[in-house]
């Protein structure tokens, strides 16, 4: 236990309570009765990680097994890391304050590509070699889960294994196998070969990758009995999915200080740029009773005065009105706020809108993603101007005077006309505001947030080039010009940095050749790349150069439909040919109906052995 050493340094760092654990509902076990210890690492800071729902689910699940103990570990900020290194304090679990290098598992959740250097930092700070090949002992096993596993190739060299898809069941199987090995003995190689036989486990060292001369993948060859395709795991009966009845409640304020109930998984929409919409298929929802019960039990065990419903698109819950009625009946009585991020209010009756209004919301936000209807058809983003106007009108009448709009620049087939449409949309909202009776007396403020489109694996746009820096700059400048300095008094425009966007694009569709680049960048000081104040693009560029790797090859190159993708051996349960069909339709500016209306034939129903919806 490192408590004494920590006492010496904690008063020298910002917000020390995030480095010491001991929160309400943190699980502390008797070490002597535990067989498998799991360090659940979130490769970002405590404040961000503690807001994440997935970590809470798997934390509780693992701890529900009496002889398994799962602890939380986060990325220390530089002030803390410096103190830890100076005082020889290795990375530790927040529950026991024991060094994690002595645990059986070190598991990372991989939520976004820009956290990759944090993984190396954390392993190194733990005193564990960062390359899998340098870790010869059976334990600790370094594993990863989460959405980035659908293409984990850029970090494959650092991991012993990955879990693809919903980890609830696979994680336990993986730990049971480790328990067997701990009892009966065995080598790491033997463990990994047996683990590869568990459906949903991907052991990267059991696949040989060869490349063509042009740098593209030639073949992915499994060895020692590993399956040719790693099959994503899903929990079909979502009502039975494991849900924690309590959350660890932090002392310090974190990003989302509230309890969260997941209402559904997957998405019916099929927006062509959205990776989540594809990799979390099929759409499944919990019953009303289950959701209401979870709202109650979490409120009671955490003491939070706010609960939020989470999913990719809560408006698509089949009986959303009924659900909100049932929940507010409880939350109103308890004086608990119900927060509903990104709910589309245009779909509701006045009665429900009134109810939602009575609860705190972050404000009026829309994500049309593209300015023109043409481009929205290309990306299959089903939101019309009429719907936006209808919601705005309801909100303006209710006293709102600011609107936030999210767009992407660099979408496939985008032209300056589509950019112009962004401004026109903002203008129309301004007109609507001033023509709304009973609006607030304040001047309207519109904020436009521009991100750069990043093509992601397992989307119909995985074949598309990312727009170049010049193209993005040109479009940004054009938009600013047509809005004009006068216009910008009412319309505020913000945008993302191309440096981080292109890095994310490279890592998203990267292959194993990038492991060396990531290592090099980290060695030279890159970490916390997702934080503007810590991001060091020059070091990354030097690392790419050192290995003769061209970022444009990964980011800005168009791929043919028959090119072997670095992630070809991951089976997300839908047909790859579906992505090609959707890509072709995109270029034809044709939309695809949502899954509830009509099955688009992605093929996942074959895996389920049932239709996703009961169609008439």
């Amino acid at each position: 236990m490192l408590k004494e050493k920590l006492d010496k340094i904690l008063l020298k760092v910002q917000k020390p309570s995030r480095y010491i654990g001991g929160e309400v509902n943190a699980v502390v076990k008797d070490k002597s009765k535990v067989d498998i210890r799991f360090a659940f690492c979130f490769p970002d800071t405590y404040d961000i990680g503690m807001s994440h729902l997935g970590i809470k689910i798997l934390y509780s699940l693992k701890n529900s097994i009496p002889n398994y103990w799962c602890e939380r570990v986060f990325m220390p900020l530089p002030d803390m890391e410096e103190q830890m290194r100076k005082n020889d304090i290795p990375l530790y679990g927040l529950e026991s304050l024991d060094p994690i290098k002595d645990f059986e598992f070190i598991g990372f959740t991989l939520q976004y590509e820009l956290c990759y250097t944090n993984i190396l930092s954390m392993l190194d700070l733990a005193g564990v070699p960062v390359y899998s090949k340098d870790r010869k002992d059976l334990f600790p096993i370094v594993m990863g889960g989460g959405p980035c596993v659908c293409n984990a190739e850029p970090i494959a060299d650092f991991f012993d294994l990955f879990v693809l898809g919903e980890g609830e069941e696979v994680n336990l199987k993986m730990m049971q196998l480790a328990e067997k090995f701990k009892k009966n003995g065995g080598t790491k190689q033997e463990y990994l070969e047996q683990a590869a036989q568990i459906e949903g486990i991907y052991v990267p060292s059991l696949y040989d990758i060869s490349y063509n001369e042009d740098g593209t993948v030639k073949a992915i060859t499994p060895k020692n009995g590993a399956p040719a395709k790693v099959k994503k795991q899903i929990i079909d009966d979502f009502d039975k999915v494991y849900t924690p009845d309590s959350f660890v409640v932090p002392y310090t304020q974190i990003v989302h200080d509230r309890s969260v109930v997941e209402v559904l998984r997957g998405c019916i929409r099929g927006c062509r740029f959205c990776q989540a919409g594809f990799i979390y298929r099929p759409f499944r929802e919990k019953s009303k009773e289950t959701i209401v019960n979870q709202v109650k039990s979490l409120t009671e065990t955490t003491g939070y005065d706010e609960v939020s419903l989470s999913s990719l698109s809560t408006s698509d819950y089949s009986d959303i009105e009924g659900l909100l009625n049932d929940i507010t009946e409880y939350t109103d009585k308890k004086g608990v706020n119900l927060s509903l991020p990104s709910l589309r209010i245009d779909k509701f009756s006045d009665e429900v809108v009134k109810k939602i209004k009575s609860v705190r919301r972050s404000g009026l936000t829309f994500a049309p993603e593209a300015g023109s209807q043409r481009l929205r058809d290309v990306i299959n983003k089903n939101i019309t101007e009429e719907a936006i106007f209808k919601s705005c009108k309801i909100a303006f009448e209710g006293g709102y005077s600011s609107v936030k709009l999210y767009f992407m620049l660099g979408l496939p087939t985008e032209t300056l006309d589509d950019i112009k449409a962004i401004k026109e949309l903002a203008d129309k909202i301004i007109d609507l505001y001033y023509n709304t009776e009973g609006r607030s007396k304040k001047a309207i403020s519109i904020s436009i947030s521009l991100s750069t489109f990043i093509p992601k694996p397992f989307t119909p746009f995985e074949y598309e080039p990312q727009a170049t820096e010049e193209q993005i700059n040109e479009r940004q400048k054009y938009l600013l010009d047509i809005i004009g300095s006068k216009g910008r008094r009412r319309i505020d425009v913000s945008w993302s940095h191309y440096d981080t966007t292109i890095l994310e694009a490279v890592l998203a569709r990267g292959d194993r050749k990038l492991s060396a680049v990531i290592y090099e960048a980290w060695k030279n000081g890159c970490k916390l790349d997702g934080w503007n104040e810590y991001f060091k693009p020059e070091i990354w560029d030097a690392a790419f150069e050192k290995f003769g790797i061209d970022k444009a090859f990964y980011a800005n190159r168009k791929r043919e439909y028959d090119e072997i993708a670095p992630w070809e051996h991951m089976d997300m349960l839908f047909d790859r040919s579906f992505l090609v069909r959707e890509n072709i339709k995109a270029h034809e500016e044709k939309t695809t109906a949502n899954c509830r209306e009509k099955c688009a034939g992605c093929g996942i129903n074959k895996c389920l052995g049932r239709a996703c919806f009961k169609y008439e």
Binding site: L10, L11, P16, Y19, G22, T302, Y304
Partner: protein, 212 residues
């Protein structure tokens, strides 16, 4: 305020890992804990009602306390031991309610804090430091940074190599954080203190009695 409210004082300890909880976070922590129980708690009235809790004398970050107190208001009479037990069941392990009682003193009567200190350092130097006629420190005030001799306000009792009782002012109008004294010592000795544990053991009122 409703006259049926019952003001109640919770005496608690805040030790171990909980010493890193800031005063503000401690309030949130108690509010959430109370919401996890069925204690009939009074809420502040108005537009945004919240669970009323009031810390009598915040403890500085990094110090432990074994006789801290916080005031709440009940809307109905319930057994004080039951309040204690309900809260202990839902508070973090390093915050324990010791007793629940009706308040005797007003927090404006508070004058001094009593700390039990353990220090690991170069004791000869520390003893030399204690004998200094004055200890000048910089203190931030509303008017900027001023220097102040804290020696006359610092009382040390029962000294035994590295272990002693320290009494310092902590009233509404004049308060000194014990870290001022130890920071001054580090400056004096020119080296980092090996270990320092500060535990607030009591709070004294102007009339010399314990705050209760």
């Amino acid at each position: 305020m409703n006259e049926n409210n019952i003001a109640v004082r919770l005496f608690f300890s805040k030790t171990g890992r909980a010493k890193y909880i800031s005063a503000l976070d401690l309030i949130t922590c108690f509010q959430r804990a109370i919401r996890r129980t069925d204690i009939p708690i009074w809420h502040t009235q108005g537009f945004n009602p919240h669970t009323y809790v009031n810390v009598n004398l915040p403890l500085s970050l990094g110090s432990e306390g074994i006789n801290e107190s916080m005031d709440i208001k009940l809307t109905e009479q319930i057994d004080f031991d039951a309040v204690r037990d309900m809260l202990n069941a839902v508070l973090p392990p390093d915050i324990r309610i010791i007793r629940v009682a009706l308040p005797v003193k007003k927090h404006t009567e508070i004058e001094k804090s009593v700390y039990s200190v353990n220090i690991v350092c170069d004791y000869d130097k520390f003893e030399e430091f204690m004998k200094l006629p004055s200890v000048e420190v910089e203190k931030k005030t509303k008017k900027g940074i001023t220097t102040l001799d804290i020696k006359p306000f610092t009382e040390i009792k029962d000294y035994e190599r590295g272990h002693f009782t320290l009494i310092m002012p902590s009233g509404c109008d004049f308060t000194l954080n014990p870290s001022l004294f130890f920071d001054a010592f580090e400056k004096f000795s020119g080296e980092e203190t090996e270990r320092l544990d500060i535990v607030r053991t009591g709070i004294l009122c102007k009339d010399g009695t314990q705050f209760e």
